[in-house]
């Protein structure tokens, strides 16, 4: 099965919507009339991290660029409305050049906006909006896919709004954000978009996907799916990456280590250092490649007339690059820390669940005995306070509080209860 929408785990409503829209889009390209609202120029994919917002947007982008002619209701009069083909058929074969390059990020008419840093700057947005208005190279659609639309600066959002308000005929905007709350996406942009809400897939659905598509053994798939708390990418990493498993184990050892005030500060330092190391490793290769590419492009080490002036320009560009890379590193650190905090929150959830008689399966199967032991000693109130402390810490880091300070305050509260 190569259908691009097959990647969407446990999201039948979203898949139905996107299939119908892809068929309508194909009909538009053939010059057929489609009903009002069958195809929309601006889409907003919402859902918690790991629910597959960007996977859904990419799959849709691929379906829009799919060149494989398949039988569909708009193609053949012989297909009756409501027949099985209505749901199953349509663009998005996953194997044609259009699908393939769109998914791989190399399609000339699909532009991805993935913020390197904490925000998407207005200059970048203006440039993209301008280019999205050009005629599609392959005669189909110009697709602009913004992966973290909640990270648009206000000015960048305004630049985008102008384009979304009056979209060029063949341009489609795909935006992804955690929710359609005004904190995440401006009300005016939201009002121009068709929203595709995605759910956090259940552990079962994630586990099935890992077994069927990635060939993970069922036992491993089951525990990593639970531990990843609905985050498909995280589950896959836990299944395949030994270091990710080790880091998780170190995080889950924290509750046991909090034996006093001094230990809390040590645990905080260790958690921050681990996040920094993980982030540094994740951006190192990209950083080096970017720097090498820029140096080559600028002809570093060039001599001759005007090279002093050129050198000043080079220094400026290198400085810009360093700034961007620093911003990306900061973001990678926060993301790594957030994953650790989610793991930790899962543990305290398990304790709470154990206190209430273990109504649901634990998040972390491997530390379940520990959670049960803690449930014997801690009151429900103090466990709730601990869970609250972890969630407060996540919010604080998101609000730009120095991670070290936020984590230290949290560790002390986890110790005290």
């Amino acid at each position: 099965m190569n259908d691009v929408f097959a990647q969407l785990v446990g999201q039948p409503e979203a898949v139905a919507t996107l299939r119908a829209a892809s068929r309508a889009a194909a009909a538009v390209l053939r010059g057929e009339a489609v009903g009002a609202g069958a195809m929309t120029h601006a889409w907003l994919f919402t859902g918690p991290p790991g629910s597959g917002r960007s996977v859904a947007a990419r799959a849709f982008a691929a379906a829009l660029q799919c060149t494989e002619v398949r039988k569909g209701p708009f193609l053949s009069d012989s297909v009756v409305e409501g027949s099985p083909l209505n749901d199953e058929a349509g663009p998005g074969c996953g194997v044609c050049t259009g699908c393939h390059t769109a998914l791989a990020g190399t399609h000339p008419d699909v532009r991805f906006v993935v913020p390197d840093g904490l925000s998407i700057p207005v200059a970048q947005m203006r440039d993209l909006v301008l280019r999205s208005a050009t005629t599609p190279a392959n005669g189909r659609w110009q697709v602009l896919l913004i992966e973290d639309a909640d990270r648009l600066t206000e000015a960048a959002g305004n630049a985008l709004l102008k384009a979304v308000e009056e979209p060029p005929d063949r341009t489609i905007f795909l935006l992804c954000a955690p929710s359609d709350h005004p904190d995440d996406i401006s009300v005016t942009i939201r009002s121009r978009c068709r929203v595709v809400p995605l759910r956090q897939p259940g552990a079962e659905a994630v586990s099935t996907l890992l077994v069927e598509r990635d060939g993970v053994d069922p036992a491993t798939a089951a525990w990593v799916a639970a531990a990843a708390q609905g985050h498909v990418g995280r589950a896959r990493r836990l299944a395949g990456d030994r270091e990710a498993r080790d880091r998780r184990a170190a995080v889950l050892a924290v509750p046991r280590q909090l034996t006093g005030v001094g230990a809390c500060f040590d645990a905080a330092a260790a958690l921050i250092e681990a996040a920094e190391a993980e982030a540094a490793a994740s951006v190192a290769a990209t950083d080096a490649a970017e720097r090498a590419a820029l140096e080559t492009a600028l002809g570093a080490g060039g001599t001759g007339k005007g090279s002093a002036g050129a050198a000043r320009g080079i220094a400026g560009q290198l400085k810009d690059l360093e700034k961007r890379q620093k911003s990306r590193a900061t973001r990678a650190q926060r993301d790594a820390l957030d994953r650790a905090l989610l793991d930790l929150a899962g543990f305290y959830r398990d304790v709470l669940n154990a206190r209430w008689g273990g109504a649901v399966a634990p998040v972390h199967a491997d530390t379940a005995p520990l959670a049960e032991a803690a449930a014997q000693r801690w009151t429900a109130e103090s466990t709730l306070r601990r869970l609250e402390a972890v969630l407060t810490c996540r919010t604080a880091i998101d609000a730009n509080v120095k991670p070290r300070i936020a984590v230290e305050a949290m560790m002390l509260e986890l110790w005290q209860g």
Binding site: G260, G262, F265, A396, I405, A406
Partner: protein, 327 residues
């Protein structure tokens, strides 16, 4: 002529061992200056050992046709190729009296045989290793002040390092500035007065009073800091650092400050100060104070309009947390 007699300090081969840029640069300049005393027209040649050919080295070390002294600076000595290294080790046995050879060597395991060989054959060794220990950094500052003709106690050096940071170039520049602006006696009060405008120092003054439980002094220091234009963010950071320091020192037990210094990674004077401040704090009070510090950080980072009030509230929360635990 300045002098007909060669300066007794001028040796034919100098090995600069280490990778602290400032110290390496200094050793090279010092050597060149000493040579210049002997011959004001001394010729200075610099080359990189890693790309140097044996013929080029031989040429550089051979006597000049027209006479005259020469200083040859060989950088990255650790990267010298085999034949160049062999020539160096051979040359050092019978160096040319008219040439001063300076070999800069990073001091690591790479090319260690070259460094060892030169030292063994009698080269003058100038240490230039990176300073990593706090004690050595303090020594650097005191000796730097002495070098510039002033005097400086360890506590003043500590204060200067806290205000300026670890970069040796910046520390050296700060020493020169202090010497130029004072009569040469640099004490802790001078440093505090001189770096008062520095956010860290002002923030630390607020935090010191706040964790010591001196509410009026802390509020006054805060008002003064805000009035003189210090940004609230570093003050909030200093408040958190104050609680952190007291908490870590208090939970490390009653040890000797010098023994605790390495395990806590803090200078002894800071530990002694925190040990005094720790009296009156309980673990419960520290938990509350750290929470207040984290909330304060969120408030000054843009969550709140009146950032000065957020800081005042935090200082008051510290006082309550401390009093609540001192019963």
């Amino acid at each position: 002529m300045v002098s007909q007699v060669p300066s007794p300090a001028l040796t034919p081969v100098v090995l600069v061992l280490g990778d602290e840029e400032l110290l390496v640069a200094r050793a090279v300049t010092d050597t060149a200056a000493r040579a210049r005393v002997v011959d004001p027209a001394v010729e200075l040649r610099e080359m990189d050992a890693d790309t140097l050919l044996v013929g080029e080295l031989a040429e550089a070390l051979s006597p000049s046709l027209f006479g005259g002294r020469r200083v040859v600076v060989l950088r990255r000595g650790q990267d010298a190729k085999k034949d160049v290294a062999a020539m160096l080790l051979d040359y050092v046995k019978a160096p040319d009296p008219e040439v001063t050879l300076v070999v800069a060597h990073a001091g690591g395991a790479k090319g260690k045989a070259i460094a060892d060989g030169l030292a063994k054959a009698g080269a003058e060794v100038v240490p230039a290793a990176k300073i990593t220990k706090h004690r050595e950094r303090v020594d650097f500052v005191t000796s730097e002040v002495r070098r510039l003709g002033g005097r400086c106690q360890a506590d003043a050096a500590e204060a200067l390092i806290e205000a300026v940071g670890h970069d040796l170039r910046e520390l050296a520049a700060a020493c020169a500035q202090l010497i130029a602006d004072t009569d040469g006696r640099v004490d802790a009060a001078t440093v505090a007065r001189y770096y008062r405008g520095k956010a860290e120092v002002s923030g630390f003054a607020v935090a010191d009073a706040a964790v010591a439980g001196d509410l009026p002094a802390a509020l006054e220091a805060l008002r003064w800091a805000l009035h003189s234009g210090v940004d609230p963010v570093p003050i909030a950071d200093a408040l958190a650092d104050g609680v952190r320091t007291v908490a870590r020192v208090a939970s490390a037990g009653r040890g000797n400050a010098f023994q605790l210094a390495s395990s806590l990674g803090m200078p002894a004077w800071k530990i002694e100060k925190a040990q005094r401040q720790a009296r009156g704090w309980t673990p419960e009070g520290l938990v509350k104070a750290m929470r207040a510090a984290a909330d304060c950080n969120a408030a000054v980072k843009g969550g709140e309009e009146d950032r000065g009030y957020a800081l005042e509230r935090t200082i008051a929360a510290f006082a309550r947390a401390r009093a609540g635990g001192s019963r």
